[in-house]
């Protein structure tokens, strides 16, 4: 008993220890860690035990056999052939592809708009400076969910007549979505696309601004004193130096965008979260669906960070 009290006392004292302590011996460290592992294990054991009891009590159980059963719900816009008699796993895969579709398209659009706004924000034109500053603050200070609902309910669903804008049947905006060159985007997808990209573009613009401002003032003065024109100097001298500073900020913004894409459920777009939600409502398998959701997001995050890592490497290679 005295031993346990002593270990608790020591571990509490050294629990928060931010530097390599010379005073703590290796044995003490080992004992504290074993003790902590014991506590963690006990805590998780209690929780898992509760979970098992509750699952048995509610007659749900825990298995993944249901994945091969027919899903028996239909999807509004499956990216690949899908029918309600297909399995739950296939439906989840459809949701994953839908998520990927909306994430990558809005990522490209957000980068485009954000870069444009970021450049205008640091430019010399005071008019554009004020406009872009207003845009950034307004977009950042309103919740994404409200923006998405605004795009969907006000932007698309409230178009009364069949077509809002029609340019020779090539570009057509109506309450069923957008049609460009025969490519039909549903209103849910387009609302999500615009909402996500406009929201992220404000954050990306700030990243771009920070990156450009991180280039030392001497560089601007140097190219001006060499007689290089403003345009050429910006493209050839400032921008390449600012590029490496963009990458970490852009990566975190892209990850945020991927996470924010789960708000698709608010506009009725069937992404991975919405399909998981439907399955939970149908089968009641919340634990399994949550695990699937976790893993699908880990994979998505890994994908984005890997791609950004490759881009970062290529930038660093061209720089030297």
């Amino acid at each position: 008993m005295r031993f346990i009290v002593k270990v608790v006392y020591i571990s509490l004292r050294h629990l928060i220890n931010c530097r390599k302590s010379q005073r703590m011996s290796k044995n003490k460290k080992l004992i504290i860690q074993i003790f902590l592992a014991f506590i963690l294990f006990g805590l998780s054991w209690i929780l898992v035990n509760n979970l098992i009891i509750n699952l048995i009590r509610t007659n749900i159980g825990f298995n993944f056999n249901w994945l091969i059963k027919p899903a028996s719900f239909s999807l509004a816009e499956p990216p690949l052939p899908y029918s309600p008699s297909d399995s739950y796993a296939w439906a989840l895969f459809m949701g994953w592809i839908n998520s990927l579709k909306v994430i990558f398209s809005s990522l490209l659009l957000a980068t485009f708009i954000g870069t444009l706004i970021g450049f205008l924000r640091v430019g010399k034109n005071s008019f554009f400076n004020i406009i872009t500053a207003g845009y950034i603050t307004f977009i950042r200070q309103t919740p994404l969910l409200i923006q998405l609902m605004c795009w969907y309910f006000v932007g698309f669903l409230s178009i009364k007549n069949n077509s809002f804008l029609n340019i020779r049947n090539i570009f057509n905006i109506s309450n069923t979505g957008i049609e460009i060159f025969g490519l039909n985007l549903s209103s849910e997808f387009s609302a999500l696309l615009f909402g996500l990209s406009i929201f992220s573009s404000a954050f990306i613009a700030e990243v771009i601004r920070g990156g450009i401002q991180s280039v030392p003032v001497g560089q601007w003065e140097a190219y001006r004193s060499l007689g290089i024109s403003e345009k050429k100097g910006f493209v050839k001298i400032i921008f390449p130096q600012a590029l490496p500073a963009f990458i970490p900020g852009l990566t975190s913004q892209y990850l945020n965008l991927a996470k924010n894409s789960t708000l698709a459920i608010a506009v009725g777009y069937s992404d991975i979260y919405a399909i998981n939600d439907t399955i939970i409502n149908q089968t009641g398998r919340a634990v399994e669906c949550f695990i699937i959701l976790l893993f699908s997001f880990l994979i998505l995050n890994l994908l984005i960070t890997k791609i950004m890592g490759i881009i970062n490497k290529s930038i660093m290679r061209t720089r030297i």
């Binding site: 220890n17 931010c18 979970l51 603050t137 969910l145 409200i146 923006q147 309910f153 006000v154």
Partner: protein, 343 residues
């Protein structure tokens, strides 16, 4: 003669061209753009104020502020709002008395229990069920209590991530990384559907508390990362100086490192607070009656069906104003802290 005329015209044309493309060009373009912008904004404002039917907002103001809180008890949330406003005001513009500044932190911490007591009732007040909480009251309650709980957890996680003990370091970084890679709505969903499964039979947590717990779990990971950034930017010789003064680890962490890192991380923490305030709107998807949830139920009312534009403009402006106030307060605080840095 003809030739002269042509020369004149060419000259004039050149002059106009020079004028437009010289340094005046920018001014002219700016002037035209400003005029266009002002006319657009005026037209938009005219449309907002005269063409839209604002009855959907004006007749539901009570619902937006307090949800379905009983009418006779609505002085309680109002009192709470007033106390929050007054403490904000005192923080920014209040006198520089030493005892006041020392106790302001406790005042801020005390607003949350006060709010919960006022909303929940008991001990002399009529109890009000949490399903009657709603509107702006619920939004602010969710925000303030989540940030209050997640700040200490975030600080401890950040310190643990730099610990010399392998297990603590790995565990806290695992927790932070997992929480940061999961979307918020999944965590909130976990809070609403899975937390009851992890509790022993018979124990139940209220829906509002479950969502506060989920928000706390989520935000503390982000706060930990912000504070870690602050901790990393503190020079090493501070620790050495503290060691040479004979302070122990606890004193070094909580009297030297954490206060400084909090000051450095203040802008990032404000961003977290604003983000959290905006993200409470996600609870409307999971069925709480906060600002957006109230609006959704109002829009489902046949009397106001289809009036999306008014409701969303109103909501966006409410969120915008409150977020701007928070950003303003944090800027003032930052200013205060940097001016105090001298001594």
């Amino acid at each position: 003669m003809n030739h002269m005329n042509l020369m004149l015209i060419i000259n004039l044309f050149n002059k106009i061209k020079n004028f437009l493309l010289s340094k005046h060009k920018k001014n002219v373009f700016n002037f035209i753009f400003t005029l266009i912008l002002i006319s657009l904004v005026l037209r938009f404002l005219y449309w907002i104020f005269f063409n839209l039917n604002w009855r959907v907002v004006t007749s539901n103001l009570n619902l937006y502020a307090f949800g379905s809180f009983p009418f006779d008890e609505q002085w309680r949330p109002t009192l709470w709002f007033l106390s929050l406003l007054s403490i904000t005001f005192v923080t920014i513009y209040g006198p520089k008395w030493n005892w006041l500044r020392k106790n302001l932190l406790f005042g801020w911490i005390g607003t949350v229990p006060l709010g919960i007591y006022l909303l929940k009732g008991g001990f002399g007040l009529t109890p009000v069920m949490s399903r009657n909480w709603g509107g702006l009251t619920l939004t602010i309650l969710l925000t303030s209590s989540s940030i209050l709980f997640s700040l200490p957890i975030g600080i401890i996680l950040a310190l643990c991530r730099r610990s010399s003990l392998f297990l603590i370091r790995k565990f806290s970084s695992f927790y932070i990384d997992v929480m940061r890679s999961v979307p918020l709505i999944a965590v909130l969903f976990f809070g609403q559907l899975l937390i009851p499964l992890f509790l022993p039979f018979g124990v139940e947590i209220d829906r509002v508390w479950r969502s506060i717990l989920a928000f706390t779990l989520f935000v503390s990971a982000y706060i930990a990362e912000d504070i870690r950034g602050g901790l990393q930017s503190i020079p090493k010789n501070q620790i050495e100086a503290a060691n040479s003064l004979g302070l122990n680890n606890f004193q070094i962490n909580f009297f030297i490192l954490v206060p400084q890192s909090l000051r450095i991380a203040l802008p990032a923490l404000t961003n977290q607070l604003i983000g959290l305030f905006q993200n409470t709107s996600l609870m409307s998807i999971l069925g709480l009656m906060e600002l957006l949830g109230v609006s959704r139920s109002i829009l489902a009312n046949p009397e106001f069906i289809g009036q999306y534009i008014e409701v969303y403009i109103w909501l966006a402006s409410v969120y915008w104003i409150l977020c701007t106030i928070m950003a303003f307060v944090s800027k003032k605080l930052e200013h205060k802290m940097t001016t105090n840095k001298g001594y």
